[in-house]
Amino acid sequence: MSLAKVTQVKGLALAVPGDDIDTDRIIPARFLRCVTFDGLGEHAFRDERTGPDGLERPHPMNSAQAARIAAAKQGVMVVGFNFGCGSSREHAPQSLWRFGFTAFVGGSFAEIFFGNSTTLGVPCLTLSKDDLAECDAFVRANPEVELTVDVQNLVVTAGAKSWKASIAASARDGLVNGKWDPIADLLEGAPAVDKTAGTLAYVVGK
């Protein structure tokens, strides 16, 4: 299985402010009543975007900028801290990715969300608190400027601005080498897996 090398993601950016945005908010549980991930993109942030009256609410995902990202199927979401906390539902990054987001930049990411995203080939880079505030402000003020998320060199740039970024070394390695989906490596370890299994009493039935 050959995968694209994700060394750099370039695209328009959308700021979605707030800390501790949970995966229930990203994709409400009623949309998990499905047996495929198809069609999840249109429901991303559904209850933040649409009121109980069915009318659109003011939300970044309802903006013209979001529509441009959806059309391009390429873009960067700039988020706060502890983004994607709560439920492990992979439906959350799947919905954002299917909407059009191909990278996240934030203060920190919940661990399961982080793993679910990078395994899709979608990098989650973190900035320092001050840099994130500056990046967030820049993105709002300059919606037409593309953001470059450089996974190879760990830097986020927009126009003349640039901010030092970080990501777990293993995730970076997987992305830039086109091995962000670990299945091939895991399958390759099969003989060693059997060996480990043989040493575990509860696995061999004791």
Binding site: M1, F81, S87, E90, I112, L186, L187, G189, A192
Partner: protein
């Protein structure tokens, strides 16, 4: 060298180092359910892969099952499609399925312990963030995404990086009317909803020594609400006694060796922790959430925080929370009117929870303004409760007695809040819209506090209502 349980289990299950520096970790026990597995089976079929060790994956159905409708087809055709997909997948790949007609179906995190599948010193994974529940037995248990469910099915392994270990010590005796739920809500309040990122939580101290396995499960269950992907308690005699005699427990001839092996996984005296935090049990009081994250919590007799006392980041979340909850800063939460009371979930839907509440509920009546439902977490729990006559106590008090499942914890079945109803809930998440209505409001609390809310129709101190 002295090691933590986490390190010992990690080393015993390490298959090899992967090229990206992660560990290929053997997952001895894999639990699956209907919501996060169908896409994983789809990926297996697309890739032409088989399930590597079908006997090490166990399935049940919990999220979408209706609790007031036993006959199929369910009125929700999507729920029916999902349960049928799981039946087909488990049949096609030779996986044991604790189905609704077996008397053993239930919330996946209850089925593992009830069956004796959950054991110390093992690795467990499940496509559900509350998998840390199994850590109560001294297992290292991870919540995973669907692509990782595929990885475990196909290879019985995951690509993971080791976690740091934070020892959370709680010492002393809890006051009457204060429960394991209050302990974990208090821990999250203090350490924050993101304080556990990068850590496994080791819960220890005399309070945990005194806890039953079910109380330990309540605490481990909500580790993820504190940002920690897994949490555990070192195994002891109580752990072994709980497992003994369960269907998947080691048989008599293997028992002593299993216990010796399990005991050997406990953290060594003098081992290194990346962090240690201590709490005094006597200082913990009944705790309730007031906001939209589990960390936004106070003792029942405290006021909700004034905005000016919060730092800038917390303040923004708090403003959002007050608006959603329709509550006012710097006021008491006690006395807030409640519409719905939910007793259940993988946090507090076990037999000990049902027994504790029933003890106080006898002879009391649910307020006519409240809809109260009790949802045993599993069929075995429901059967046991009925055997003890607990169902009658609840029904006489005015609770609806329901079938087993996740129910109103996340409202993927028909049990949902309506409009901006406020729910006193024994579950684990108070996120916006969590209980099925986007304007619905959730206040997390212990089961006895839920019962007190049901009787009085408001958020109140169970210790006063029940003279605890």
């Amino acid at each position: 060298m002295a090691k933590t349980l986490f390190q010992k289990v990690w080393e015993a299950h390490t298959v090899r180092q992967l090229p990206n520096g992660q560990t290929q970790l053997f997952i001895g026990t894999h639990l699956i359910h209907e919501v996060t597995s169908p896409q994983a089976f789809g990926m297996l079929r697309d890739l032409g892969l088989k399930v590597k060790y079908p006997q090490r994956t166990f399935a049940t159905v919990d999220h979408i099952v209706p609790t007031n409708e036993l006959k199929e087809p369910y009125s929700d055709p999507i729920a029916q499609e999902m349960i049928e997909a799981l039946r087909k997948n488990t049949k096609d790949f030779g996986i044991r399925f604790f189905d609704t007609n077996t008397g053993t179906q239930g919330i996946v995190h209850m089925v593992g312990p009830e069956q004796g599948i959950t054991q110390p010193g093992t690795t467990i994974a499940c496509g559900d963030s509350h998998t840390a529940t199994h850590g109560a037995f001294g297992a290292i248990a991870f919540g995973i995404g669907t692509t990782q469910v595929r990885d475990v099915l196909a290879t019985q392994t995951l690509a993971l990086s080791a976690l740091k270990v934070r020892r959370i010590e709680v010492n002393g005796q809890l006051s009457p009317g204060v429960y394991a739920k209050d302990v974990i809500l208090h821990i999250i309040r203090v350490l924050g909803v993101n304080g556990g990122i990068g850590f496994a939580y080791e819960y220890a101290g005399t309070t945990f020594d005194g806890f039953s396995l079910e109380e330990r499960m309540t605490v481990c269950n909500m580790s993820i609400e504190g940002g920690a992907r897994c949490g555990y308690v070192n195994p002891d005699q109580k752990t072994f006694d709980y497992i003994q005699g369960k269907p998947y427990a080691p048989k008599a001839a293997d028992w002593d060796a299993a216990v010796a092996r399990w005991a050997s996984f406990a953290s060594d005296a003098g081992c290194h922790y990346d962090d240690v935090v201590k709490f005094n049990a006597a200082e913990i009081r009944p705790t309730v959430t007031w906001g939209i994250t589990p960390g936004q919590a106070i003792f029942i007799d405290e006021k909700m925080p004034a905005l000016e006392t919060l730092n800038a980041a917390d303040r923004a979340t708090a403003e959002d929370a007050y608006k959603h909850m329709k509550l006012a800063p710097d006021t008491a939460i006690k006395g807030t009117k409640v519409d719905v009371c939910f007793l259940g979930s993988c946090t507090n839907g076990r037999i000990s929870d049902l027994r504790e509440v029933a003890k106080y509920l006898k002879g009391r009546k649910v307020s006519p303004t409240v809809k109260a439902i009790v949802v045993p977490g599993s069929q075995l729990t429901a059967i046991q409760a009925v055997h003890e006559g607990l169902d009658k106590i609840y029904i006489e008090a005015g609770f609806e007695w329901r079938g087993a499942g996740c129910s109103m914890c996340l409202a993927m079945n028909p049990d949902k809040l309506v409009g901006d109803q406020l729910c006193a809930s024994s579950s684990n998440r108070n996120f916006k819209g969590r209980q099925g209505s986007q304007t619905g409001r959730t206040i997390l609390m212990s089961p006895l506090m839920v019962a007190a809310a049901a009787i009085t129709g408001q958020v109140t101190d169970a210790r006063e209502v029940f003279k605890v």
